[in-house]
């Protein structure tokens, strides 16, 4: 069922929708005049449909014609679940992903590592599926590094009358080189145990980006983290971007609001004082992001702070009596909970004036 209040944006409205179901995130951008960009993928409440596709369907849009670009910020399964379904549906869309991940050595690493007996989802498997889809005639695949223009429209092409672009801010060339060296070494020293995670599963190749619409700017932090090395992570972005372009009026907070992704200068040099922040939660094995400390820090730096899903719903599972008895006897503690896939929608009806309309759906909240 379509969510109440779901209407498509006007042609001259810019929209940023952030979806987050407690484990995963996706961003959908309307750049104006029916041009849409998807960044990453997570699943809607039905646990099958990618959240951006469901939303577009709910507001009566056709993803097969309206989405012009799909961006994979990195290959972790909390950012890529359902991405192949998006690429399959959005037949006109280009597929952008990190240049480092287009290297044969990395993909061979994924292919070899993913040759494992498991039904659990892994980001690497989804990444390989996406690559296969791009073999179809007419599909275009594109490499991303810092300063790559993902999308670029002159003012005359869009109803709001502002030049619009989406610019990648990372990974830096040093990150790129480091990653390839690491993969080269690890490929021939694969672990002998079947694992859901690779040692190469770091966030330093994550693609942060900035959307610029005339004087309006929105910073999309992906999972990029802070490193001490000035040529890596947020330090490299600040070095490269400080003083260039307008300060951002809104931010998708990097890496689920974790302290490891926080850099003071991002807030002081790249973001406006009255910035609106949106964070997607992450919950696994009893660990949660953002922590209460993270929330306090982020909200103190923001005019308003939002989270896509605040509290998980506990599921009451019924097992056969014999199973329940044995679980108890084995001293195994088992719990079950899910988040709803919340949605924070920010619309900028008059892009150059910075007016914002913020709406919360399906459990999203202000904190």
């Amino acid at each position: 069922m379509p969510w109440i209040g779901m209407t498509p944006p006007q042609d001259d409205e810019v929209e940023i929708s952030v979806f987050g179901p407690g484990y995963g995130e996706s961003i959908l951008i309307h750049a104006g005049s029916g041009r849409w960009i998807v960044i990453d993928s997570c699943l809607a409440d039905d646990r099958r449909t990618p959240a951006p596709l469901k939303y577009m369907s709910d507001i009566g849009l056709d993803a097969s014609t309206d989405v012009c670009a799909v961006v994979a910020t990195h290959w972790h399964d909390d950012h890529i679940k359902g991405l192949s379904a998006i690429l399959r549906a959005c037949v006109k869309a280009d597929y952008w992903y990190s240049a480092a991940l287009t290297k044969g050595e990395f993909l061979a690493f994924l292919a070899v590592h993913d040759n494992q007996p498991t039904t659990l989802d892994r980001g690497g498997t989804e990444m390989l599926k996406c690559l296969e889809l791009m073999e179809e005639p007419g599909r275009k695949i594109k490499r991303l590094l810092e300063d790559t223009l993902v999308a670029d429209w002159p003012a005359s092409r869009l109803a709001h009358g502002h030049a619009t672009r989406l610019l990648a801010l990372s990974p830096s060339s040093k990150q790129f080189d480091q990653f390839l060296r690491m993969i080269g070494a690890e490929l021939y020293e694969l672990p002998l145990k079947a694992k859901t995670r690779l040692t190469a599963g770091r966030n330093d190749l994550s693609i942060a980006s900035v959307l610029e619409v005339g004087a309006l700017s929105v910073l999309l932090g992906a999972d990029l983290e802070h490193c001490q090395d000035p040529d890596l992570g947020w330090a490299a972005v600040i070095h490269n971007r400080s003083g260039k372009g307008p300060k951002s009026a809104a931010i998708k907070v990097p890496h689920h609001g974790s302290a490891g992704a926080h850099h003071d200068q991002v807030w002081s040099e790249l973001l406006a004082e009255d910035v609106v922040s949106v964070v997607t939660p992450w919950s696994l094995a009893g660990k949660k992001l953002p922590t209460e400390t993270d929330k306090v820090r982020i909200s103190s730096l923001s005019k308003a702070a939002y989270i896509t899903a605040e509290k998980p719903q506990t599921l009451k599972k019924r097992y056969p009596r014999a199973v329940t008895k044995h679980i108890r006897r084995s001293r195994v503690e088992i719990t079950s909970s899910v988040y709803r896939c919340g949605h924070v929608r920010i619309r900028f009806p008059e892009a150059d004036l910075g007016k914002q309309v913020i709406e919360l759906f399906n459990g999203a909240a202000q904190y």
Partner: protein, 211 residues
Amino acid sequence: MTLHSLTNQDIFDSRYEETVYSGEKVADLDAKVNYDDYKRRSREFNKGERLKTASHDPDSAFKSASNSNCKTETINELVAPMQLRAVQKISSRSGVRSLTPLMEWEGSVEAIESDEFVARLLNVTTGELLPTEEASFPLSELNDIQRDNLEVGAIFRWVIGLQRLPNGNKQRVSELFFRRLPAHSEREINAAVASIGMQLDALDWDDAPSR
């Protein structure tokens, strides 16, 4: 003496249980095992098993694990010189140890604490699409082999089921089966790199901005 009652045979038991946890019945008639010889052969078995499952079908190794003929043959190969008299499929009336699952989960280890590990679980029996369950397992319940395989990211199956013992008795059990990654030779890895290289060459690369 049955295989199940042999002392110091954890590795073998682990392999053996993999053949029966899906409910298949494999005979384990009387056996006498030289443990040192067994350990050497077990290593060879590991290696052979991994190489057998090295293909680009992610499910191939799992399918292989449930292929009774392949497993029976491999176990025969392993135990024959150790004077195991016979390992073959027989009727369910005698000399059989089997496990009929009541509930199965596939799990991944997410955290290891001092006295327990925490895992995310996908309920295989109910056909869940995504993991919705989390469980903490006491470390004290793990045997040495399970402890060796325990690390963050490790994949395992958790089966609660009804075990039929060779003497015909039945008991409810809870078993963890950690998965191992197939080992790959340098040649296989080079072949994967070459294959991916050809795939990349065939794609339409274009770095112009989307419009």
